[in-house]
Symmetry: none
Subunit: 251 residues, 2 copies
DNA sequence: CCAGGATTGACCATTTCTGGGCATAGCCGC
DNA sequence: GCGGCTATGCCCAGAAATGGTCAATCCTGG
């Protein structure tokens, strides 16, 4: 029962944290008790009104933290990208099962290793339209990752993310723009690669009207171009991957 | 170590399932071993258009299943709604911490109880733009919910959802085209809403060259327009939502 | 060494998109 | 009814994207 009780205990500590410092202390203790050297919790809330909030709690080496923040690597971090493709935690050495690694990605991981970060385990969580976050536990280079603790890490990470969500606050969360049915249809066909003219034919309306719908949709999301309109709709779940999937998959 | 080993064992069984029947059997066994009477796993690929876009595996009483499906209660189900607002599993008796319960919601829960479904624990998971799902474990009315097994249920549920994702079909990524680093960068900035000219300034190269990279990238994916190029890159994990996140709702 | 790919740069004609404006009609809530 | 939202249609000017061709440099694998 050792591990089980440990998980309970750590989860309890973490969920009791009501300040960032307490969360740091609890996570620090948790990482240590589970046999990890490092931890990093990142949580981002995206409010519809634009006032987002985020939290970053970690004990990564300063060298790496400075590089990461300085070069704003969070945008291209392959670990973070993999987190968008997994429903469960994953080991970093397995990221290429989730996403392809580019040269730049490998370079980033290499620099991380040189900065004192070895293998790790990341627990990702997403709330569509509201927030995304991840909680990672890692060891120093060449150290053994405590495989028997990954399930504990999964629980502890999840609890930590829930705690972070509480701390960041769900208060003024407002749903973002909603598209009308017609707008949604136009965005969908646009995402499927149709031009305004083709979409007009499909929907049986004038091309000018399709253009108008897309124009209104762009205004709702306050984006200037079609690419971003489609991405916004995708993230909001207004359209889904599977809506578009079969249009380019058959190749 | 009993619970810990049990979790490992059940997780292994479930992740080994490669058919819906095997998943049913594994979940059935898991629920039983953890002290639950009932289980239900629902997985939805966004969009719902194509075949195999969703999965439902459960051993709920027929009475309830018929009512649920017949009246299409999934749309109003408070448990499901709560699942969209939680990053971790939750007990059904705590749903009002996540969402306000309307009279209709309470009525729905009451009918469920009369149909033989007591308290339960639901593990929700979301992948932005791709899928949402939940895995619930429940007991019959007036039975004690195995509180000491909730963490195990969290793990088992997550693993079951990951398995369902594999079965439904979008789980494993297949490498189609690979973009060069430069192409990837151009696609990324394009996804962030930059025009070829702006991207050129950012990358410090000529606009013509950016256009060329995007052209080559489109050819690799055999798509005619920028929208689909970006979607393909997103599908493949070449770029991620987080890569573009902060650009499409900047201020 | 040579073939092939990656990267860079340029030009052109055509299509498409974007941001303005304008107008009619229907529907819903106050 | 009035105001607001939605849907529809049209016009225009300028910006951007697309598809095609040509050419130079650099690097890597055979």
């Amino acid at each position: 029962m050792k591990h089980f009780n440990l998980t309970e205990e750590l989860a309890h500590d973490i969920s009791g944290a009501d300040k960032e410092e307490q969360l740091f202390a609890a996570l620090s203790n948790a990482a240590d008790r589970m046999g990890f050297d490092l931890f990093a919790l990142a949580f981002d809330r995206r409010g519809g009104g634009g006032e987002g909030a985020s939290m970053l709690v970690h004990n990564y080496p300063d060298v790496w933290a400075n590089v990461y923040v300085g070069f704003d690597l969070s945008g291209t971090d392959p670990i973070r990208r993999a987190g968008e493709r997994s429903m469960t935690g994953f080991q970093w050495c397995d990221v290429d099962r989730y996403i392809p690694l580019s040269c730049g990605d490998r370079q980033l991981l290499k620099v991380a290793r040189e900065s004192g970060i070895g293998d790790g385990y990341t627990v990702p969580r997403h709330l569509p339209g509201e927030a995304s976050g991840s909680c990672s536990f890692a060891v120093v280079p060449n150290a053994r990752i405590p495989l028997e603790m990954l399930h504990a890490a999964e629980i502890v990470g999840a609890v930590a993310l829930a705690a972070a969500r509480q701390l960041v606050g769900t208060g003024s969360y407002t749903r973002r723009a909603v598209l009308t049915e017609r707008q949604r249809e136009c965005v969908l066909w646009s995402a499927r690669g149709k031009t305004a003219g083709e979409t007009a034919g499909i929907l049986g309306i004038s091309e000018e009207t399709v253009v108008r719908h897309l124009k209104m949709a762009r205004e709702r999301y306050s984006v200037p171009c079609r690419q971003m309109l489609i991405l916004c709709a995708l993230f909001d779940g207004v359209i889904g991957f599977s809506d578009v999937y079969d249009w380019w998959r058959p190749l």
